[in-house]
Symmetry: C2
Subunit: 155 residues, 2 copies
Amino acid sequence: MQLMSSEAPEFRLEDFLPYRLSVAANRVSRRFADRYGAAFGLSIPEWRVMAVLGRFGRLPAREITARTAMDKVKVSRAVRQLEGRGFLERAADAADARLHWLALSEAGQGAHAAIVPMAREMEAEVVQGLTAEELALLHAALGRIAERFPGEGVD
Amino acid sequence: MQLMSSEAPEFRLEDFLPYRLSVAANRVSRRFADRYGAAFGLSIPEWRVMAVLGRFGRLPAREITARTAMDKVKVSRAVRQLEGRGFLERAADAADARLHWLALSEAGQGAHAAIVPMAREMEAEVVQGLTAEELALLHAALGRIAERFPGEGVD
DNA sequence: TCCAGGTAGTTTCAAATGCAACTGATGTCA
DNA sequence: TGACATCAGTTGCATTTGAAACTACCTGGA
């Protein structure tokens, strides 16, 4: 191997996009988990399940996995927690005994209504300091990345 | 509670920035971990340690934690793996017996040189379709988010 | 009717994670 | 000097995780 006058530039981890993406995402997730946990005793998977049920009303677990980008094991465990806490109710499907329809209970709806404003506040914190242009681009870029990197139940 | 003609808009998880950020980052990380793992038997923490050592030569573990955004436990374990694999060497500091200087071995340098191009390729896949300007904005946005959400050893 | 193959959801088990406690060493300040 | 806080790094332990196996059920032929 010959020494060239112009070598490849050294690799800078701190400028490596996948690394930066991971650091930013994990820090935000950590902060959010702390807050959901402190305020409502919920984990992020549990909150995601509540979020989609709050929006769609009744869903079978299979639909929750699709709409939360979590795998079915994670959903199954989050559902069990939420059921134990009285935040959701499960009903067997009349026609297909494999299906369980899941829906927020009264208490779950109350919790959902309380959490949503907090989630919006936290999102505002993340976005704070970004220009509208940056925000739009960030959303677009995240969408493209998620498309280009599909994942079954990948979070 | 009174029904208003204009209610708060429903909460859409799929538009929630923290969620999108997490999904994108985790999918990219997953893909990368698969590739590093298949090609070199490295985990992401191990690769991060190699990356900073490849750039800075010799560092004590403490510096690695700072430069990889990982906590010291994760660094400690990654270092042990890499040492066992013969990718790095450890030397006690002459003046301070608490410090261990870590550096890539010959084999480690070879692996580093082989991995860097692969990492660049994967980064190119992530940013594919973005203009230089968009990329700069994305970097700026991620930087601002990471600043606003500091974390000790948060990944 | 029967069965091969598919689906919904749970369980099992091993690996990854992270906090807290720990060891050994150094700094500091009276 | 000596007592005590601090630092580098490791270990213990409980929690989270996910891949694969498993149970129960359904469906579409033959």
